[in-house]
């Protein structure tokens, strides 16, 4: 006897359709484009130090978006994304320095390399669930780190300098790296956005709500998870490649550091789990803290840990979750809502629904 599963009254099912609705959608799009264009002008007027700082910000944002795609949307909590960050960083060296491909191109290829490596790893660690999956991802990261640290070709524990990038003139390298970082950040947001609006997004929602039920209602859980895992590896790889370009020096302990995952988790937990907006807000907050408090080193990390634990235990939806609940604002229309047919007349004006093409009728 399960009362919640029943409809109390057996009245006729009202006509409805499924829509992804967002009233503010157009304004958000305009604002988003405006911000990106404004950020694109930065190298034209700002100092090198500023652009380099922003590069760090963009990479953290991309990292957080990718981690959130895994954890917030697919329910795959990874503490091993540093595997792909490191692969991306070493990928730039491998593709740029060893294969001789232009370093700017090698950033993208490094992402592809990370995705290719993730493809066979995903099915293996999907055998583990929940917290054990999390540790499994960590093992993978350790395996990759140990390989890189133990072989001579990659420079062992002391690492490598990325010569192909270092040789570029600074006027090319600094703005180039900046635009790559911006592209990776914007790309990570768009990637998550379009992935969630595709059929995969629907599958992910089902998986997050109930893995087993999703499976039994025909959602290919395994394929959706693997796709997300590979996409996240690609994003983290490209992000790691940009970090390497920015620093020009790679070293296994830093490239494969658990701190990458720690940053991502802090950002997402503070900003808001399972939303695109959350990592955006979280990155800004995290970055502001980083700029003001990072000279305190370990006590800064300690503080972040305390905040994250409190947030995760008491307010798991983060700051954006609070905003959403309080004001019902959704900047990115990735949610699907059941709309009853015959809403108030003003709601039916086509002008109000710029995303009418995305409306699915059930």
């Amino acid at each position: 006897m399960t009362p919640p599963a029943e409809t109390p009254q057996a009245t006729a099912v009202p006509a409805f359709r499924v829509a992804r609705s967002a009233r503010m959608h157009r304004y958000v799009l305009v604002a988003f484009v405006a911000v990106v264009v404004a950020l694109a002008t930065v190298p034209l007027w700002a100092e090198t130090a500023t652009t380099r700082t922003l590069v760090t910000f963009f990479t953290l944002l991309a990292l957080a978006q990718m981690w959130n795609l895994l954890g917030g949307y697919a329910g795959l909590i990874s503490v091993g994304q540093q595997a792909y960050v490191g692969i991306g960083a070493y990928g730039v060296w491998l593709i740029g320095d060893v294969l001789g491909i232009h370093p700017f191109v090698s950033v993208l290829l490094a992402g592809v390399l990370a995705a290719l490596i993730a493809l066979p790893i995903g099915p293996l660690i999907f055998r583990l669930k929940g917290g054990y999956f999390a540790i499994g991802t960590w093992v993978v990261a350790e395996v990759v780190r140990l390989v890189v640290a133990n072989i001579q070709a990659t420079g062992g524990g002391s690492g490598k300098t990325i010569m192909s990038a270092a040789r570029l003139p600074m006027e090319t390298r600094v703005p180039g790296t900046y635009y790559l970082a911006l592209a990776v950040a914007v790309g990570s947001i768009l990637l998550v956005y379009f992935l969630l609006r595709s059929r995969v997004g629907l599958a992910l929602t089902a998986i997050r709500d109930n893995d087993l039920a999703a499976q039994s209602s025909g959602v290919n859980v395994f394929r959706a998870k693997l796709l997300v895992y590979v996409v996240a590896a690609f994003g983290c790889g490209a992000m790691g490649a940009v970090v390497a370009m920015n620093l020009l020096r790679i070293q296994p302990t830093a490239a494969f550091s658990i701190n990458w995952t720690a940053y991502a988790i802090f950002i997402v937990v503070i900003g808001g789990f399972g939303t695109i907006e959350g990592p955006l807000i979280g990155s800004v907050i995290y970055f502001a803290l980083l700029q003001t408090l990072s000279q305190y080193g370990t006590s800064y990390m300690l503080l972040l840990g305390v905040i994250a634990v409190i947030m995760a235990a008491k307010a798991p939806r983060g700051i954006w979750g609070f905003v959403e609940k309080r004001w019902d604002i959704h900047l990115f229309p990735v949610r699907r809502e059941l709309l009853l047919e015959s809403p108030p007349p003003e709601e039916r004006k086509p002008a109000d629904r710029p995303d009418a093409a995305a409306t699915e009728t059930a």
Partner: protein, 290 residues
């Protein structure tokens, strides 16, 4: 004979891995919680023992015993004061909270004790060895650690099988709501499970600290080894963790012997991943936990 000797070291090392793994398996068995701070809590215990040893003139044994008792208390308070709030919500919260705890412990220890390597001195015991045959010798200390591991695991299994409280642990593991209907206060049981888990991992951390040097960054490695022992042993089997630990220990020592010191841990991971690929339920798969 060298190889046999190395394998033997690996078996003994496996005992220590199993001791780290036992609490992880117990907590998972009773409340489906994977404590990502498990390794860090073991290292924390070593630092507590070190602090007690430096502050009071009580000797290694009593300092260690006190640290184990303190960790038992911390476990109960941690579970009831924090972790219980994350159980029964979604699966992600306990993972995030314990990961945050791991970061807090690591950085807190660095602040308090610095990132330097420390050692716990247990005197002559550390280097004395016992000769088995002309060519086979094992250190007294690794042997004692192994025996302690076996005794602790046996005692835990006896507790779970033979006592009323142990029965309550297993009942809660099977069906926490039905256990509640038997008059079992799950929150208290969870607290006790974490307390026991941390007491055991405290012992493991201290035994490790006597064996080698230790520093605040080592927790995650201990967690990973413990996890590998749990999965290889078969989730939910306490004795399985000993087998899993031994497999991991032997893999690491033989790997190091074969490919050089840097590759030992790597070979351990590879053996783990191979087991995961071909026998994901582990060597001692049981459908029933704890």
């Amino acid at each position: 004979m060298d190889w046999v000797n190395v394998a033997l070291q690996g078996v003994l090392l496996g005992g220590l891995f199993a001791l780290f793994a036992t609490g992880l398996a117990l907590v998972f068995g009773v409340m489906r919680l994977v404590n990502l701070a498990h390794g860090d809590l073991g290292i924390l215990a070593a630092f507590v023992a070190l602090f007690l040893l430096d502050s009071f003139d009580i000797g290694v044994f009593w300092a260690s015993l006190a640290a184990v008792v303190i960790m038992f208390g911390i476990g109960y308070v941690l579970q009831r004061g924090l972790l219980n709030f994350t159980i029964g919500t979604d699966d992600t919260r306990p993972i995030l909270v314990t990961f945050g705890l791991s970061i807090i412990i690591q950085n807190g220890l660095v602040m308090w004790f610095s990132a330097d390597s420390q050692g716990l001195d247990a005197g002559r015991l550390e280097n004395a060895s016992v000769r088995l045959t002309d060519q086979l010798a094992v250190g007294w200390y690794p042997l004692i650690v192994f025996v302690i591991a076996v005794v602790v695991i046996a005692a835990l299994q006896l507790f779970l099988n033979r006592t009323t409280l142990g029965r309550a642990f297993r009942a809660t593991s099977d069906d926490q709501e039905a256990a509640e209907l038997m008059g079992i206060n799950n929150r208290h049981i969870y607290g006790l499970a974490m307390a026991i888990a941390l007491a055991i991992v405290a012992l493991a951390g201290i035994l490790l600290a006597v064996r080698t040097t230790f520093d605040p960054s080592q927790g995650p490695f201990r967690l990973i080894f413990a996890f590998e022992a749990v999965i290889m042993g078969g989730m939910g089997s306490i004795w399985g963790t000993l087998i899993g630990g031994i497999v991991l220990g032997v893999s690491q020592t033989l790997g190091a012997q074969a490919f050089g010191a840097g590759w030992g841990i790597f070979v351990g991971h590879v053996v783990f991943l191979t087991v995961l690929a071909f026998k994901p339920s582990g060597f001692f798969a049981k459908t029933v936990t704890a």
